[in-house]
Symmetry: C2
Amino acid sequence: MAVNPPLLDPPLPVPCFRVGTASCGVKSPEIRGKRQDLTLIVSDEPAHAAGVFTQNRFRAACVDFGQETIERHGQDIRCIIANSGNANAGVGEMERLWAQQLIEAGAAACGCRPEQTLSASTGVIGTPFPIERIERHIGEAVASLRPDGWQAAAEAIRTTDTFAKWASRKVGNHTITGIAKGSGMIHPNMATMLAFVATDAPLTHDQLQPMLRRAADRSFNSISVDGDTSTNDTVYLLANGLGMGHAPLQDTSEFEQALTEVCIELAQLIVRDGEGVSKFVTIHVNGARSEEEARKIGRTIAVSPLVKTAFAGSDANWGRILAAIGNAGVEIDRSRVALAADDVCIVENGQLREDYRDEAGMAVFAKKEFTLHVDLGLGEAAATVWTGDLTHEYITINAEYRT
Amino acid sequence: MAVNPPLLDPPLPVPCFRVGTASCGVKSPEIRGKRQDLTLIVSDEPAHAAGVFTQNRFRAACVDFGQETIERHGQDIRCIIANSGNANAGVGEMERLWAQQLIEAGAAACGCRPEQTLSASTGVIGTPFPIERIERHIGEAVASLRPDGWQAAAEAIRTTDTFAKWASRKVGNHTITGIAKGSGMIHPNMATMLAFVATDAPLTHDQLQPMLRRAADRSFNSISVDGDTSTNDTVYLLANGLGMGHAPLQDTSEFEQALTEVCIELAQLIVRDGEGVSKFVTIHVNGARSEEEARKIGRTIAVSPLVKTAFAGSDANWGRILAAIGNAGVEIDRSRVALAADDVCIVENGQLREDYRDEAGMAVFAKKEFTLHVDLGLGEAAATVWTGDLTHEYITINAEYRT
């Protein structure tokens, strides 16, 4: 059950990037040949790179390695190797070794060095990582490397996703294409939000890293299906335009805008594919003192089980939304708070509007998609958060035995 | 559906306290005479008082007044007036006036001044407060004042609670009795955890306030059904021993221990009565650097929808529990973390024990009550948190239309 998954135009190839996939049977040898589960993204020129990683303290070794590699060698990255089917997490002492072997396999396949190679793994945790099956079949991915391999890669990184996710933008003469996986989080033991974004824009690691941080805050960090974050969440951004000899981009604002749009589009697709989600709700918070405070309030509304069950029940339960706003740990002046659902004003100056009619609110909450507008009346900052509802299907999916 | 609600011994009367109830038809005039919904707790001698209040920024006026009164007049409190059926919250400009009128009604009925009177309201929000029905029938509560009225009061403060909650302890020659309401939180629009504790121990406001703060942290702030807190949550503690002429208590540690036990007992009853809860899970975190960090980790596990659905599904999903530990925002050393369920050791040194068998973990998670033991291996501090599971019934209760 996905909420209005859009029919996506094919992803745009990005100059000097080639993408290939293989079927290794990562999850089990029987699925080899039945679905692709290994992805290589290769830049034919050295790329500058940036990364954003899970804050979970139990994060997997591949995340540690990715962050280290970007910090030390972020000016010279050549490839990403990513597998689905096994997260290589929670497996004990072998985890770092297997993560290192995956990086080495990717480097060998792409003809570069391990320190030029980023990796990501997603899938079941606590199960030994079948590095030998990946080593055995990685040649397929090399053989399939091609400029328009992005859609196949978006398919190959899926775990419980019900559809493949990608987005592209043109910015001037340059292209940005990203792919992502994640269905909120989490099928039993299938965690992880991954996104890989590539561009031929000429930007340095030092320019990219803060831009990706901001774009991720406004996209992947502004969605919530259930408020949990996984051990393997990773976003990588590669830009190879400088390696191609383009002159450095002076004004980066247009690029950042396009990058943010790509990330938001990917993030929204993840919410639409959220587990058990039957509604897609946009929460726009403005009038805040800072974007961070606005986002904090939006996220508190977005993760409240009481608010999310009210969404599921098509119940315009504004009291729960006010209570969530009050719970965010942000100083507010309740006498200034306003709340609307689409074009129905519900609360003004912290109290129910006299002309509000419950039927009007209920009609909005009954829709498959709607927007909550929260105005704190304190400043000029704003943030937008996207979320789904909390349904019986979520419980069914997540309370089932692992299989 | 409550989890093993214990058969409680009757609450002990507390010297020089009298308790009465009335049926006012607060929620609607039709229920007048059918259930009690107003409670008076009167100390015949001046009592020292302490209070702990919701941190929700949308808290109700009665909470503001309660905190003010305790700060200014906490050495001379004579009564608590509490109603169920209407929270007097989210009702706009009249809220403060109605809250003031409730206090005045309580003061007049008990023959004391408004500044000696604490109040609490719980029930639907956003509905005009029927102060006139309370004023009309409060005489019933005065007429019924008696030393052994605690059980009737525990019944009268209920909203969606499926059973009445109380606890008593003797400490030396003195008595502590508390009553509470709350079913985790929340039936549609029926929020609020309330607890009122009375003792004849001779303690000052300055002694009581920090003790109640600590006891509340270890009890009411250590439970979670869904992670939301309400606009009206309030805990009051009255001690009238000094007013009775007893010599001040020098060593308060024994009293604090008993007070904490009463609060924990009440808090556990609230979890057992949690909405849609089918399991009662104790989470004991030790080896932390501070009690606060231990509690933060316990609470993060306790509110994780993925962990709670795993409880519901009797799934010993240790990966989700580790991920929740990693999500708590507490610095940990993952290579030191240990996890056990009852007597089954699952994780040691941050990794799955080789001798762990999933069937053994599953057998524990299938029980109606069990304990998770988390050891961080970093220090000597510990905390315990109690929680329930996240079930289809919770969704059904909270996704229903308001009626």
